[in-house]
């Protein structure tokens, strides 16, 4: 009896295992057909490609692209801020006026000093001429 039971048990187990394998296989096929990314990864794994390295590369590329986009946006924003910033115009015009005013004051003071010196020298020369 025991001799009969053991083969039957083994047969049942084998059939169950085969049934389970078929079920897992079907589930895998379903999952792969539903997710192309998974299909690529399974394919890469089958071909011996380092999926983790490929993923890292992809993430690095995406991060680089994000940084480049951020930089470009920041540059554009800075350029726009500078372009619309009226401080440069105000400072430039102020500098122009300050230099012009300083130059005119310099000329005026020089002229006054020279006039005073001319008057003084003339007076001294006239005094000498009178003597």
């Amino acid at each position: 009896m025991r001799l009969l039971i053991l083969p039957v048990l083994a047969l049942v187990l084998c059939l169950g295992r085969a049934n389970a394998d078929t079920s897992i296989h079907d589930q895998c096929v379903d999952a792969v057909s539903k997710d192309p990314q998974l299909a690529r990864e399974v394919g890469d794994a089958a071909l011996g490609v380092d999926v983790a390295a490929k993923k890292r590369q992809q993430m690095d590329a995406e991060a680089g692209q994000r940084r480049a986009d951020q930089d470009a946006a920041q540059r554009e924003q800075t350029a726009r801020q500078i372009a619309l910033d009226d401080r440069q115009v105000i400072l430039a015009y102020a500098a122009m006026w300050v230099i012009a005013a300083l130059f005119v004051v310099f000329l005026w003071r020089k002229q006054q000093a020279l006039k005073a010196e001319i008057v003084g020298l003339r007076r001294e020369l006239e005094d000498v001429a009178k003597k």
């Binding site: 372009a83 115009v89 430039a92 130059f103 000329l107 001319i118 003339r122 001294e124």
Partner: protein, 237 residues
Amino acid sequence: MSSASSASSAPSRGLAVPILCAVAAIGFVVSLWLAFVVAPPALDLFFNQKIFYFHVAHAFMLFTAVGVAGVCGILYLKTRKPHWDDISSAATEVAVAFGAVVLITGSFWARAAWDKWWNWEPRLTMSLLLWLVLVGCVLIRRFAGPSADRIAAGMALFGMVGVPFIYFMVGQDQHPNSGANGVAATLDPAMRGAFWCAVGTFLVWFVALLLMRLGDTRAEREVRELRERALDLGVIE
């Protein structure tokens, strides 16, 4: 001497300088209105492009002043007539003032256009060198002694030779509005009125400053002559 004295201060005492200053003041107000109200904003620099009207007009006056100083320097070296030296000296000092405005307003414009206060591109560097030559002329006149007038006249000529290099350097550099030697020719027609009005205004202002400074230069000459007479008579030591 008295006739020389009256002639020496005539330009500053006469009506020419006040009239020119009044015309320049009116022209300045009109230029501001044309530049800020009438002229459209530029596509690239927006509001900051308004610096252009006065920066470039000052640059034109710088070139004019350097040209006057150089030509009068040549005439003085050739004829040795003092009035050419007076004009050359006056034009050099006015050129220093205009040059300072060009460099400073240019620096603000560079900040707006390039996000930098200064870069050593050829035109900027040449402009700075020209300005330093002009400052050198002024210092030589003040400190170089009896032959200062001739050395300064030679340096003014040297400065004048540098002007075409600065002007024709457009297109070889990264200056705003590069690629065109005729700045006004490539300007948007709606901006030309403001630009030429600013150039005319600063031309009048340049002549007014030149006449003012010329009065001083002639007064300085008169002081020198009076001092020599006073020394001869033993009035001063």
